[in-house]
Subunit: 351 residues, 2 copies
DNA sequence: GCTTTTTACTACACGGCGTTGCTTTAATCT
DNA sequence: AGATTAAAGCAACGCCGTGTAGTAAAAAGC
């Protein structure tokens, strides 16, 4: 279905998305969005009334009236984002521009259960929002969890190592306890949302590779996060890369994750990064993406080695340059992305 | 950009897409599209005026006025589709429902050049359109070509084995010679369009695996064909599946295609189909799709074996059933999909 | 220093979109 | 036969982006 409300929301999101990249003018917005100048004027005035944009000076580009610069009011809306790992909970506060303003980290007990988790989440969230936060600016909380889970219904299915989590309606539980809107997604997806939200239209086809104890990816395809039929896409760690390779915990053998972890365990960094490199090269060919972002504990421990390992394995065709980088958000990428996922529910393009 | 014309085109396409699956009523269209009954009435009356739909009887579902059945006028619009292989050109005529009405096949000379090809294409197209075709119903021609090529600009880059094809603006050449709108896409993409167009909303996340001399895939993700930044996505044949495997023509080693072709060459059908099965299982995990369609000369020669090989390797989790099938379009799938790609340019959802 | 030109931006009427509220039509139920 | 139920159409409406025309503010020309 598509109606006029959809139309307006869509165009508002397009303009706001362009404004996120930095100071712009109405004329540039019209050029880059394809909207007419009048439509841009209307959209911009709506956004100014809502406090999301402000005029900030002028820019002269030749003869004629100088263009009015428009700037995002980054702190007009804020969101919290949480990363849930098997041993740790991290919550960050970000603004509309995707800047991390504050963070809190707490350990989680071994094999924690849902009530324990929700209480701990509430404690960290309260700590972050009490400080300087007028509550009307805080939009909600995003949660990046390990899969499998269902993004649409907000239910955690049965993550390995967390025995008390079978079909837990986490979004509903958290919304009730926190009194705030909550969105739930896989950690790899929130991580790629972080990159997409911050870099805007520039990033349309990208993969974020999260290398920790496992190896998962978040896919941004044609500007949208690809989640698959059951929010389960991105399970790349258990892709076969050596048909007759060593057995893996997943039951199959020769998986990327198994080979990588074996190499890493015996201290063979070159081999470990090379396996990630081959795997990423395969992805680039399969999906035809132009950006690869590396993240996760393993990568952040040896960023240069992983960068080299991946870059060395990529196809060298000059007409297909692939940009490989380490996430500038570091350990915050999953939590910050969860916050931006929530921002995008309010200010991203409607579905 | 999104304006009112976009809005109308979008809703028209939604309704027409639902009507493609078979006879429907306005009430059902409203339910399934999310549009209000009144909006559906307006859309339907537009489509009836354009000759795309007709009322055809009533269906009684209880008390009250019976629902009016609406039927797609399948032959109100027609399109031609071409498949270009290294030794053969195939052109088919399809209607709005995706039914193949007629076909023509001709051999192509070894390492044919663009002018030769365009002439041969024109000859086959003329043969098909002279017969019974009032030209106002024929919308244009779609071409499924081997990659790499650029779907947006309609330029063929440099397919291996065709030395005269370096950056050839095939879409422009063909449009000029045929006097019809032309779209160009990779053969794997047109093939998956064929499945998507025929099966409608039912098919939203699927992969079509085309096994011939090479192994390529077409990806339908969230209802849209994923082409990647440079229309080059789907090069799955050269994905590494055996790190220390035999060298491949692509310069790397242990590629799916190399291993499959080696097994097939030595007549080991079990091994060949098993390799495709592992590769497809990897894809299902990575992309979280629920439909896999097998196609291509190798598959059509041994359909049962490939079906078994793939089904045996898929994860058995009951909550993730994956439907595996052989394309019912057989050898026509690429050409028919090219025709449907052209239909979708006119009657599919606008971008 | 004044006018002209160029460019940025906006006020307003308009056509087109889906929506709302009501009416008409055509079945079944009592 | 009348009541009830459901489908579908009609008309008024609110809101969307657009087209036209106008205003504002700078540089350029003389």
């Amino acid at each position: 279905m598509a109606n006029l409300r959809f139309l307006r929301g869509y165009n508002d999101a397009v303009v706001l998305g362009l404004a996120r990249s930095g100071a712009v003018t109405r004329v540039e917005l019209a050029d880059r969005s394809g909207l007419t100048p009048q439509a841009v004027s209307k959209v911009v005035s709506r956004l100014i009334v809502d406090g999301l944009l402000v005029e900030s000076g002028t820019r002269n580009v030749g003869v004629g009236k100088p263009r009015t610069l428009l700037k995002l009011v980054a702190d007009s809306r804020l969101a919290l984002g949480a990363q849930v790992e098997r041993d740790e909970l991290r919550v960050v506060l970000t603004d509309l521009a995707g800047t991390v303003l504050d963070r809190a980290v707490a350990p989680l007990p071994r094999d924690f259960d849902p009530p324990t988790f929700v209480e701990e989440l509430n404690r960290l969230v309260d700590g972050l929002r009490s400080d300087r936060l007028r509550s009307d600016r805080l939009l909600g909380v995003g949660i990046g969890f390990v899969g499998p889970l269902d993004h649409r219904t907000g239910v955690v299915h049965y993550p390995t190592g967390l025995t008390a989590w079978h079909d837990v309606p986490l979004r509903a539980l958290a919304e009730k306890r926190l009194g705030l809107p909550v969105v739930l997604d896989k950690d790899t997806n929130t991580a790629v949302v972080a990159e997409a939200w911050r870099r805007g239209e520039e990033l349309r086809d990208a993969v974020l590779v999260l290398v920790g104890t496992g190896l998962g990816i978040g896919m941004l395809l044609d500007g949208r996060v690809h989640r698959g039929v059951r929010t389960n896409a991105g399970e790349y760690g258990h892709t076969t890369i050596q048909l007759d390779g060593p057995p893996c915990v997943c039951g199959r053998s020769g998986c990327i994750e198994a080979l990588h972890n074996l190499a890493a365990a015996r201290g063979d960094l070159v081999e470990a990064t090379s396996i990630v490199g081959v795997a990423v090269a395969d992805l680039v060919q399969l999906l035809d993406i132009d950006h690869v972002v590396l993240a996760g504990r393993a990568v952040l421990a040896e960023p240069a080695a992983y960068l080299d390992g991946v870059r060395a394995r990529l196809p060298k065709d000059e007409w297909l340059p692939v940009d490989v980088s380490i996430t500038p958000l570091g350990d915050d990428v999953v939590a910050a992305g969860a916050a931006m996922l929530l921002l995008s529910e309010f200010y991203g393009r409607p579905r």
